[in-house]
């Protein structure tokens, strides 16, 4: 068989291929030749063949049949073979391959080879891709080499040790002795890798960190080395643009950071050197700035004195003005990290940061945007918002969603006035309306609802916006909702804030109907506009027109629209007497958190069952008689009987149960105004009113029960569910005493089956007053993860008329809802 072609010749040949197919053909041919050569166990050309295989592998072709050949090369005595063999192993054999472990023995032998370059190959391969098993087997060899005086091997062994520690952290201890003298080395390679090793150990183990800090006194050593590097003259071997060994400097700074973190003494010991590096480093080239950057990061992370921190932030401020984009980018990223802790210092650079919004580079713009939002506060809101809105206008689409959300959040927190707030929202909706997140729509609606005095102004502006553009769905949705809600204000021209526009009912209905038929409207938007039209039936006089529209859509292909239309139709026909009450103006929606939408969801869950009575008071804006009408109607209505059962058991509140229901509604799910049924709600209109709280909801009231009643002592249990964990039932016991004597030293104890867990909180008192003059209450929390039937054994002890009384009882009559 002729000698296999040489590597370079193969490369040349393959590069002449003009098409992918041609290349593939050449490769396949060569692979076949290589395969047969491997089969013949040809020692002479194995190296050449594997090298060619590696080239083809880089082009993307499979090369797994060469894995074993790499092992054979590694086992060979020739240095050339070993070189290619190890390279092949690193490229083709990772720890997922079965043959990987076969390398272990070869590596072990080579670690003890007489030639340092062979040892180097073995160390390199082990340190690059050694598996945990290999590391375990060979850690001892690595440790030995870590103590050698040969600096070429020592530096490689140090990094190999780092790899071993990363793979098998338990082995860290065994390298500790070898680290003793590492820092007294003169050789920069060894110094550098030693610092890396020490860093790895300190990062992984707090004990090691303490050891190095207190026992080995690492900080002074590092400070000394760093000082020498800075003060020493020109060293040709390590110089980079006038700076001596920047790689080592940066690594030392990073290790100092770890050592100084949350330790006052260490931080103080490094104060001077950090100040020195910060002020003396050349900043004309990237390398100097790399060191400054690391210094800044260290200063901000340790317990540095305030002067040093200000110095660091000023360095970042200077970075912001640097021509080099990379430096600006890095500055913005760092400032973002420090803006929380050193807010005022960062504020000083606000105008520079805002200028970066106009940068051409996308990554810089994004950082600048994030940082700008972090810097917004009550004092600078107007100015900042102007810049940010301008940015929103002109930025790339990828930014618009985040920017819009950021603007909403900032506006909510710091709006100087309601009108400003509404104007800002309008601006966002009109300029970036299609990028606004879906959950902003309910938030905005809530905001608008709560700004009572701005209703007329808002609806007018939204209406005008709709006339211009109906393509941006969030804008259209908010606008339709507002028009449906406040359409009466629109046509009556009540706006105080600006010149009221003249618009007739028909014009408004034209616009809303236009939304229904437009191709630009999504199904959700159509739902909004249909509901809005329906709501206007109690606000406008052109009811017939509305009736017509609604009846047309009752045969719509869109199921959602159809359903709504059918129900609204029913509302016109059979339930017309309820229509005014159902389509009433929405009450102010309570919002307990002022942050993003996720907060609303959480607070909803938490506040639902135990909403204190006071919360409902602000909701009383509706005339009470209409509320009572509704109550009567629901009471007599056989469509939704469930309302009857839950009403009486709800905790008593001011203003009647209608407000309760609406209160629940507005707290649960953000946007669920009475007549308009969000897509996921059950179909019937009236069910929509009572909405989720009824069936599966954990806040459904559980009827109380009498747990014990004997000898004048009565113990009643009332139930709640503890949110957020539905497996916990919260039981409050109420102990009352019908006898003429007090029951003193009253102790209530309870035990539950093994699958439950019980927690008894402190009782209100231990005297149960006579003649029902008061009660003792105590809270029991029962964890019932397996949802088993709740059973309890109670033990009561008290003193009555001078004699001690003790009783045991079983409580089995828990209502199913308490444990299901």
């Amino acid at each position: 068989m002729p000698a296999p072609i040489r590597l370079r010749e193969l490369i040349r040949t393959i590069r002449t291929a003009r098409t992918q197919a041609e290349e593939r053909e050449m490769i396949q041919k060569e692979c076949a030749a290589i395969r047969s050569s491997f089969r013949e166990e040809d020692n002479t050309y194995r190296c050449r063949n594997v090298a060619k295989l590696l080239y083809m592998h880089m082009l993307g072709y499979p090369a797994h049949f060469g894995q074993l050949e790499c092992l054979k090369l590694i086992a060979s005595q020739k240095f050339t073979d070993k070189r290619i063999g190890y390279l092949g192993a690193m490229l083709l054999l990772d720890e997922r391959q079965d043959v990987h472990l076969l390398m272990t023995n070869c590596i072990k032998n080579d670690l003890n080879h007489s030639t340092q370059y062979v040892q180097g190959l073995a160390l390199c391969t082990l340190g690059c891709m050694g598996s945990s098993e290999m590391c375990r087997d060979l850690a001892g060899e690595v440790e030995k080499l870590l103590k050698t005086s040969n600096s070429y091997l020592r530096k490689k062994a140090a990094l190999c040790a780092v790899h071993v520690i990363r793979k098998v952290p338990e082995l860290m201890e065994m390298f500790l002795p070898a680290t003793k003298n590492l820092l007294s080395e003169k050789n920069h390679g060894v110094l550098h890798t030693s610092v890396v090793l020490l860093t790895e150990m300190c990062e992984r183990s707090p004990d090691m960190l303490l050891h190095f800090r207190k026992v080995c006194l690492l900080v002074p050593q590092l400070v000394r080395i760093l000082k020498n590097l800075i003060m020493s003259g020109y060293s040709p071997e390590h110089d980079v643009s006038g700076i001596s060994d920047p790689f080592l400097q940066v690594r030392i700074l990073r290790l100092l950071r770890i050592l100084g973190r949350s330790d006052d003494d260490s931080s103080e010991a490094m104060n001077d050197i950090l100040a020195q590096v910060a002020t003396n480093t050349e900043t004309s080239k990237n390398v100097g700035n790399a060191i400054l950057y690391e210094t800044v990061l260290t200063i901000m992370d340790i317990k540095s004195e305030s002067g040093l921190r200000v110095l660091a932030i000023n360095i970042l401020g200077r970075f912001l003005l640097n021509n080099d984009k990379n430096i600006r980018y890095v500055a913005l990223t760092s400032l973002l990290k420090t803006v929380q802790t050193d807010h005022n210092a960062v504020q000083r650079h606000r105008s520079t940061i805002v200028d970066c919004l106009k940068d051409l580079d996308v990554s810089i713009k994004r950082r600048a945007m994030e940082l700008s939002f972090a810097l917004v506060n009550g004092n600078n809101i107007r100015g900042m918002m102007k810049e940010l809105l301008y940015f929103l206008d002109s930025c790339d689409p990828e930014f618009k969603a985040d920017c819009a959300s950021g603007v909403f959040l900032a506006a909510e927190k710091y709006a100087p006035s309601k009108r400003w707030h509404i104007d800002t929202i309008m601006r966002v909706l009109t300029t970036a309306g299609s990028y606004v997140r879906d959950d902003s729509v309910p938030n905005l609606i809530q905001l608008i609802t709560n700004s009572v005095e701005m209703h007329a102004y808002t609806v007018q502006r939204l209406y005008k916006a709709l006339l211009d553009d109906i393509s941006q769905q969030p804008l259209v949705q908010v606008s339709s909702w507002c028009i449906g809600e406040y359409g009466d204000l629109l046509v009556s021209g009540q706006c105080e804030e600006e010149e009221p526009i003249q618009v007739t009912e028909d014009e408004v209905l034209d616009v809303l109907e236009g939304l229904l038929v437009s191709n630009l409207s999504t199904p959700v938007t159509r739902g909004y506009s249909l509901t809005a039209i329906m709501k206007l039936s109690t606000r406008f006089s052109s009811v017939n027109r509305i009736k017509k529209v609604v009846s047309i859509y009752s045969s719509s292909i869109d199921v959602e629209l159809q359903q709504r239309a059918v129900e609204y139709n029913a509302l016109f026909k059979k339930y017309d007497h309820m229509r005014p009450a159902l389509l009433e103006r929405m009450p102010i929606m309570e919002k307990t958190a002022s942050n993003g939408p996720t907060e609303i969801m959480q607070t909803n869950g938490e506040t639902e069952p135990s909403v204190p009575d006071t919360k409902h008071l602000p909701l009383v804006t509706q005339p009470a008689n209409q509320a009572n009408d509704l109550l009567d109607l629901l009471g007599g209505n056989d469509v939704v009987p469930v309302i009857q059962t839950t009403l009486p058991t709800k905790p008593a509140s001011a203003g009647g149960e209608l407000l309760d229901l609406l209160g629940d509604l507005s707290l649960s799910g953000g946007l669920a105004p009475a007549p308009s049924v969000p897509v996921s709600q059950p179909p019937f209109l009236l069910d929509g009113l009572s909405s989720q709280p009824l069936f599966n909801d954990t806040s459904a009231a559980i009827p109380p029960m009498t747990a014990y009643s004997k000898n004048g002592l009565k113990i009643e249990f009332t139930f709640e569910r503890a949110n957020p964990n539905p497996n916990i039932a919260v039981i409050t016991i109420h102990a009352t005493n019908t006898t003429e004597a007090d029951m003193t030293e009253f102790v209530f104890q309870a035990a539950v089956p093994k699958t439950f867990q019980l927690q008894l909180l402190s009782p209100s008192s231990n005297i149960v007053p006579a003649l029902n003059q008061g009660s003792v209450t105590q809270v029991i929390r029962v964890l019932n993860p397996q949802k088993q039937q709740l059973r309890m054994r109670v033990k009561l002890t008290y003193t009555h008329k001078g004699s001690p009384v003790q009783d045991l009882a079983e409580v089995n009559n828990f209502p199913p809802q308490s444990w299901q």
């Binding site: 590597l7 370079r8 590069r15 002479t44 190296c47 050449r48 090298a51 590696l54 080239y55 880089m58 993307g60 020739k78 240095f79 070189r83 290619i84 390279l87 490229l91 990772d94 997922r96 030639t115 370059y117 390199c124 340190g127 690059c128 891709m129 598996s131 070429y152 490689k156 990094l159 190999c160 780092v162 790899h163 920069h188 390679g189 550098h192 890798t193 890396v196 071997e237 390590h238 980079v240 920047p246 790689f247 080592l248 940066v250 990073r254 990237n286 390398v287 700035n289 790399a290 950057y293 690391e294 990061l297 984009k325 990379n326 600006r328 890095v330 580079d361 996308v362 990554s363 810089i364």
Partner: protein, 152 residues
């Protein structure tokens, strides 16, 4: 400088060198290479040299017709990474004399050998240019000595 990977590729996206410092399945390596080439080649001419990809920082620099691209942990110093890439280019330049893409194509194994004297396990092992160059020279000499008269 904990590097996860180092890639060299041409303007057309052809891979010239791939060094992986963490164990990754073959399929995923291919995906990473594809993602890197797409992202880096798609950058506008005067953008900054840093990108974010998943939880890694990507630092890249163009030298003539070759892109040098590395993936780092999120806490790493990007500016230093640029220095590391630059140092590698200098080492290649010293070895090949005015290195160009063709040198790397036809002598890819040498490029790997040089890299393995400069980085180990994703970290810098030697900060002196001369020491690295001398090690490579010595290894090459050892290779010549160990070879039989017939060349590869």
């Amino acid at each position: 400088m904990t590097m996860h990977f180092l890639l060299l590729f041409s303007r057309q996206g052809k891979l010239r060198l791939q060094k992986w410092f963490t164990p990754i399945p073959e399929r995923e390596k291919k995906k990473i290479v594809r993602d890197m080439t797409t992202m880096v080649l798609g950058r506008k001419p005067r953008s900054c040299n840093f990108l974010h990809w998943k939880d890694l920082k990507i630092v890249y620099k163009k030298y003539a017709s070759l892109y040098f691209c590395c993936g780092l942990d999120a806490e790493e110093n990007e500016l230093l990474a640029l220095e590391v890439l630059h140092r590698y280019v200098e080492l290649l330049d010293k070895y090949f004399g005015n290195v160009c893409e063709l040198d790397i194509i036809f002598n890819f194994e040498k490029a790997y050998f040089i890299l393995d004297e400069f980085l180990l396990g994703g970290e810098v092992q030697e900060t002196s240019k001369q020491v690295v160059s001398r090690s490579i020279e010595a290894s090459d000499m050892l290779q010549e000595v160990s070879e039989r008269p017939r060349s590869r």
